[in-house]
């Protein structure tokens, strides 16, 4: 039997309407393109592919063939993990779940035509697009620093070669040398991250260079898990760490990467290694898609869809969603809500009310883990916090050890959940 295109489309439209299926492509399976293969992107690609059982074509665009998780990269700096243990490939997503993994850069989005342009010259068509690009840095955020200087003063806030570089520079510090960190303003990826990093660097230096000093210039008056970190620093690294918050000029900072100096509130210090973590914004592809408002991409809490273009979903750090911190756990949780909503929109599968959760573990010293977590619900206004907890100061060594061991289990769990 022959069928011309018009009659096929009409038939398909009738079937679609009769099944109340919101969208089925007349020319084949519905297509989802995911840009960014981190905690949000890898998870949403895997869940859509897994749960749609072949009914949706999923393409994941990610330039890196090996993904280094930002979470646990501080443990590499501290000597608790090797780099290989935080490295992951996309092989399982392709071979076990049928995800079309494209190692390329997405360089443009045409929301009207529903296409993604790739640096390599190709174009991908989508019915739904998921952007999970993580963060980029705000130009000029730290006076004297830009990406040209990242080899002298690494940010190490996208894990991989930058993290290796920072570790090498720390190891090369002279005896009694000075390490400085320029901490970022809110909001930024992984709120406890800079302070876990300080803990891990202090742990490493205490063993290899015990007279070294650590200076933190912080544009904030307080930070995530502040009491827990400051307790840990006093107990384990007494006298080594000088945290300068905004109340004491920590936000008035400039750096000179050539001279290796850091000026804090007018006082210049020669440093031997320096980690500059600038202010952050959504990965640039969000700007190119035209879905940002300020530095971030606002989304609906119900399905993580952009408030500008409902066919584009934004996950993780890049999204402005409400109360959730920008963390890998959050991105993973948001990915599951988005995957469910996208499958519902494209295949008519059942959609349940969105629920979210997050927990951030941090390591202060050997077997000394702390954590903060919360549950969230979707409201019309935002993702809203429901309930939460935080580790207490003065906890026993057994509790802290159990918390660390739990974090190791979580790492094994979430990376399997992302990459299969």
């Amino acid at each position: 039997m022959s069928i011309n295109r018009r009659s096929f489309i009409q038939t398909a439209a009738a079937v679609t309407a009769s099944l109340a299926t919101p969208m089925v492509m007349a020319s084949g399976k519905p297509r989802v393109v995911v840009v960014g293969g981190g905690a949000g992107g890898a998870t949403v690609a895997r869940y859509i592919a897994k749960d749609s059982k072949g009914a949706i074509d999923v393409t994941l665009v990610e330039p890196s063939r090996t993904y280094y998780t930002c979470f646990f990269s501080n443990l590499y700096l501290g000597g608790f993990r090797d780099l290989g243990s935080i490295a992951h490939s996309y092989g399982n997503l392709a071979s076990e779940y049928g995800v079309n993994v494209v190692h390329d850069w997405a360089v443009d989005i045409d929301g009207g035509g529903k296409t993604v342009s790739l640096a390599g010259g190709g174009t991908l068509n989508y019915d739904r697009l998921v952007l999970s690009p993580g963060i980029d840095f705000v130009d000029g955020a730290v006076d004297g620093w830009d990406l040209n200087a990242q080899n002298k003063m690494p940010h190490a806030y996208k894990a991989g070669s930058q993290t290796e570089l920072l570790k090498a520079q720390l190891a090369s510090m002279p005896e009694g040398g000075v390490f400085a960190m320029v901490a970022p303003p809110n909001p930024y990826r992984c709120p406890p991250g800079p302070y876990e990093r300080i803990s891990m660097i202090a742990h490493m230096l205490k063993k290899s260079n015990p007279t070294a000093k650590i200076i933190v210039a912080d544009p904030k008056p307080k930070f995530s898990k502040m009491g827990l970190f400051q307790e840990g620093w006093a107990n384990h690294y007494d006298g080594m760490i000088d945290w300068i918050g905004s109340d004491f000029g920590g936000g008035n900072v400039s750096v000179n990467p050539e001279a290796m100096t850091v000026s804090i509130d007018g006082e210049e210090t020669k440093v031997d290694a320096c980690n500059v973590i600038p202010a952050m914004k959504a990965g640039r592809i969000c700007e190119m898609a035209g879905i940002t408002d300020g530095n971030w991409a606002p989304v609906s809490a119900h399905d993580m869809s952009s408030k500008v273009d409902s066919n584009i979903h934004v996950l993780g750090d890049a999204s402005a969603q409400g109360d959730m911190p920008k963390s890998g756990f959050s991105a993973n949780s948001q990915a599951k809500v988005a995957a469910m909503a996208i499958r519902g929109a494209l295949t008519g599968s059942k959609v349940f009310p969105a629920k979210f959760s997050n927990t951030c573990w941090s390591l202060v010293d050997t077997n000394n883990g702390v954590k903060v977590g919360a549950t969230y619900k979707a409201t019309d206004e935002k993702i809203a916090k429901v309930d939460g907890f935080i580790s207490k100061t003065g906890e026993t060594a057994d509790v802290r050890k159990a918390t660390y061991e739990e974090s190791v289990g979580w790492y094994a769990g979430i990376t399997a959940d992302m990459f299969g």
């Binding site: 979210f356 309930d387 769990g413």
Partner: protein
């Protein structure tokens, strides 16, 4: 069965803090809660949040696998966490956000897995 008839150590129960060495009554659930039939599809969705930590392959790499456990065991465990009979802040928080139907759905789903 995983509940303990005598809980030792500090637990917070119904607004009352019990000190070490004190004991509390055995935790029991009413038949009406145990008889709720879990919605498997809803359980599968809710379980995705659990599987961030509890691996889908059921291996224990620091956090135990929970696939294939008895429905009653899972229902009891989640209610015990929710009511702070069991310690672990993450699980107390996660279970605290679940209603009786959601707990039944999760238990049915995890019990159905290998």
């Amino acid at each position: 069965m995983c509940f303990r008839s005598n809980l030792i150590a500090s637990v917070f129960l119904f607004g009352t803090t019990l000190n070490a060495e004190q004991t509390i009554e055995k935790f029991t659930l009413s038949p009406s809660i145990l008889e709720i039939e879990g919605d498997l599809a809803y359980g599968e969705y809710l379980a995705s949040d659990c599987q961030t930590c509890h691996r889908a392959d059921n291996s224990n790499q620091g956090i135990p696998g929970i696939n294939g456990r008895e429905i009653k065991e899972i229902v009891y465990a989640l209610h015990e966490y929710k009511n702070k009979y069991r310690k672990n802040q993450v699980m107390q928080m996660m279970a605290g956000g679940l209603d009786d139907e959601e707990i039944a759905a999760l238990a049915s789903y995890f019990a159905s897995l290998q």
